[in-house]
């Protein structure tokens, strides 16, 4: 990641990237910005690894029968895809990269509260990833990322290392969340009141609460499955009085809130992006801030909607179904406020904004199908079909990854002091959004026709839509690759961005880009909130077209 000694003046100014040199200085760094960059490298690597598996899966599904792999390989493949994407990318990516990099900059702190624990989280990530990937190479877990019992306790493939890896990754996640909560509580600069916190920080705060409170449940549950495999205590074994559905309760008690660990940071990112590129402050700041906490809160009450057809009681299903719909309420509050923020704004159509538009569309589409899915009677038809697959990919890929890309482009000049090629960025954004639709809209149709998820082969009549989906997936893969290429190229050849290329008034832009090793020479004092474009000197609007 070290930039070349370009002739440009940007890297002649002292910054966090060139303050200390050498690999060792990165491996032992306590600087939250460098830790953010380390997370960037690691999670993007994982993302492309998971993406390769996704493409292999789609290629396998091009024909109804066997195409390039056997059924067992296919099962291992989708497990790899799920585990890598969820545990190695979705959960750590935005908190690890943008949370680490920007929370201290946004609240005017010199670092997060516990820098050494922050570094520890990177190593926990590395250790967990190493153990999980090693386990998958050794035995190739074929349970899916959900590890449902009794299959996960009886399958002949190796499961325990992957469980252990996920446990360690969970510890890393807890540590990150804990760090952020304490940082936000104790390290705000004078003038950064709770009601002036940037909305990204609010979203990260809500996320951290979930990370701290829910992740231990997953950790213990996965350990129980490992125990069950090694010793056969019978906790989930009906032959010894155990209830396999208990596993699903415990698993989703974490894993449903975990969905909000993935989407809440994304919502925070787009809240920043929409304000900057509409040149307006947030319409309904408090509503957006508190709806983040609302989602975190309600997220704990809805886990049972994953169990509608698992043998859960009809009564409990009804309760969970109704509770699930409240998530739509809080999400809608956010969507309406983002939309209202754009109203009469001086909108600058730039790559981050295009991704934001994509995000909004995917979130609404995916969210509405989610409300449909939380209706028990409809879910009985859709459970475990491609309809569900398409639904959560709309939220996870369409929502989180669009927001991730929006944030990456928005903050790229902040993090590295260079601009990427805007033309390539727009082209890639369009390609990604089109490719995404082409991949997953056919899957909605397939699911509604009854094609079950995780199946290796399918009847002939599903063939055309599967081909369409695979074609879309290749567009998507191409789009992501283009993004990677021009971003890496921009590190060397990009033009120097200057401290604030977007004329943003977010707190984090008050520092040089890239920031110096010490965030602030002296503690900043704020006398107004972030993104206040209306009052004060007239905003200098710069249109990109």
């Amino acid at each position: 990641m070290s930039p070349s000694p370009a002739s440009s003046p940007a890297y002649q100014t002292p910054n966090y990237l060139n303050a200390v040199k050498g690999v060792g200085s990165w491996l032992t760094t306590l600087d939250h910005k460098r830790i953010g960059v380390m997370y960037l490298v690691l999670t993007v690597l994982s993302f492309f690894l998971g993406g390769v598996f996704a493409l292999l899966l789609r290629i396998e599904l091009v024909t109804p029968g066997p195409t390039i792999m056997d059924a067992m390989t296919y099962n291992r493949m989708f497990t790899l895809h799920g585990v890598i994407m969820i545990f190695l990318f979705m959960i750590p990516a935005i908190p690890g990269i943008f949370g680490n990099f920007f929370i201290p900059l946004m609240i005017g702190a010199q670092d997060v509260a516990f820098p050494r624990i922050n570094l520890l989280s990177v190593y926990l990530y590395l250790a967990g990833a190493a153990i999980a990937v090693w386990g998958m190479i050794q035995g190739g877990t074929d349970t899916g990322w959900t590890f449902y019992t009794p299959y996960s306790t009886t399958t002949v493939t190796t499961v325990a290392p992957v469980l252990l890896g996920a446990f360690i990754l969970g510890m890393g996640s807890i540590v990150t969340g804990l760090n952020f909560i304490v940082t936000v509580h104790t390290m705000r600069a004078p003038g950064v009141t709770w009601m002036r916190l940037p909305l990204f920080v609010w979203a990260m705060y809500a996320t951290s609460v979930i990370q701290v409170l829910a992740t231990p449940v997953l950790g213990m549950t996965l350990l129980l499955v490992a125990f069950e495999r090694v010793f056969g205590f019978g906790i989930f074994d009906p032959a010894r009085g155990g209830d396999p559905i208990l596993f699903q309760h415990l698993f989703w008690f974490y894993s449903h809130p975990a969905v909000y660990i993935m989407i809440l940071p994304a919502m925070g990112v787009v809240s920043e992006v929409v304000q900057t590129f509409s040149r307006k402050n947030m319409f309904g700041y408090k509503a957006v801030a508190f709806s983040s906490l609302g989602i975190a809160f309600v997220g704990f009450f809805v886990w049972g909607h994953h169990l509608f057809t698992s043998g859960q009681s009809t009564f409990a299903s009804g309760v969970f179904g109704v509770l699930s719909m409240f998530v739509g309420l809080f999400t809608a509050i956010k969507v309406f406020n983002w939309t209202a923020t754009m109203y009469q704004g001086a909108i600058q159509v730039s790559a981050p904004f295009v991704y934001f538009m994509g995000f909004l569309y995917f979130l609404v589409f995916g969210g509405l199908t989610g409300i449909a899915l939380s209706t028990v009677s409809l879910d009985v038809h859709w459970q475990d079909t491609y309809f569900v697959v398409a639904h959560f990919h709309f939220i996870m890929v369409g929502g989180t990854i669009m927001a991730f890309l929006a944030g990456l482009h928005y903050w790229w000049p902040k993090m590295f002091g260079r601009m990427y090629s805007e033309r390539w960025a727009l082209a890639a954004a369009v390609l990604v959004i089109v490719g995404f639709n082409a991949t997953f809209i056919p899957q909605f149709l397939l699911g509604n026709m009854g094609m079950p998820r995780r199946y290796y082969s399918y009847p002939e009549q599903f063939w055309p839509l599967n081909v369409a989906s695979t074609a879309g997936a290749s567009l998507l893969g191409l789009g992501f690759t283009i993004v990677l290429v021009y971003l890496v190229v921009s590190l060397v050849k990009g033009r120097v961005s200057g401290p604030n290329p977007w004329n943003s008034r977010g707190y984090e832009w008050n520092t040089p880009s890239p920031p110096e090793a010490q965030n602030f020479p002296e503690t900043p004092v704020h006398d107004r909130g972030p993104h206040e474009y209306q009052d004060g000197p007239a905003a200098e609007v710069k249109h990109a077209h």
Binding site: L213, P238, A239, G241, D243, L246, F300, G304, F315, A316
Partner: protein, 145 residues
């Protein structure tokens, strides 16, 4: 250190700690006494859990200094406690209202729970719980798998 995070006036001293310890000991004694007296199942459960809650509160408030902490520590503990109750509560709601055969074999809901009146009769009686401390060898090992 004039203004610490907790006001100096509320600091507890050794005397108070010992008083709390005495209270904890007495409560432990109460639990054991009620257990010995065997007042029946529900009384035993109520007393044991109630006393445990009081003891936990004593430890948290006095030994763990919640008495003098700021709000966040109290909030953290309360939220964690509520989440534990949520997890236990909604999980039990499911198992209590299930179609009985979706519960593990020979569990209580297979028998005569009032909300399972319409369930079809189960086939074969469950093996009863048998306590035979005197004669160990005559019993088959384990219930039906």
């Amino acid at each position: 250190m004039t203004a610490t995070t907790h006001s100096e006036g509320k600091h507890l001293g050794p005397a108070q700690y010992v008083m709390v310890w005495v209270a904890l000991m007495v409560l432990t004694g109460v639990t054991l006494a009620v257990w010995k007296a065997d007042l029946g199942y529900s009384a035993r459960v109520a007393v044991a859990l109630g006393v445990a809650l009081v003891k936990a509160a004593l430890v948290a408030i006095f030994f763990m200094h919640l008495w003098e902490e700021r709000g966040v520590a109290r909030l953290t503990l309360v939220v964690a406690g509520l989440l534990v109750l949520l997890l236990i509560g909604l999980t039990l709601v499911d198992n209590a209202t299930r179609f009985p055969y979706a519960n593990p074999p020979y569990s209580e809901s297979w028998k005569d729970a009032p909300w399972q009146k319409d369930a079809p009769p189960m086939q074969g009686e469950p093996p009863p719980v048998r306590v035979t401390p005197a004669d160990r060898s005559t019993h088959p090992a384990g219930h039906a798998p």
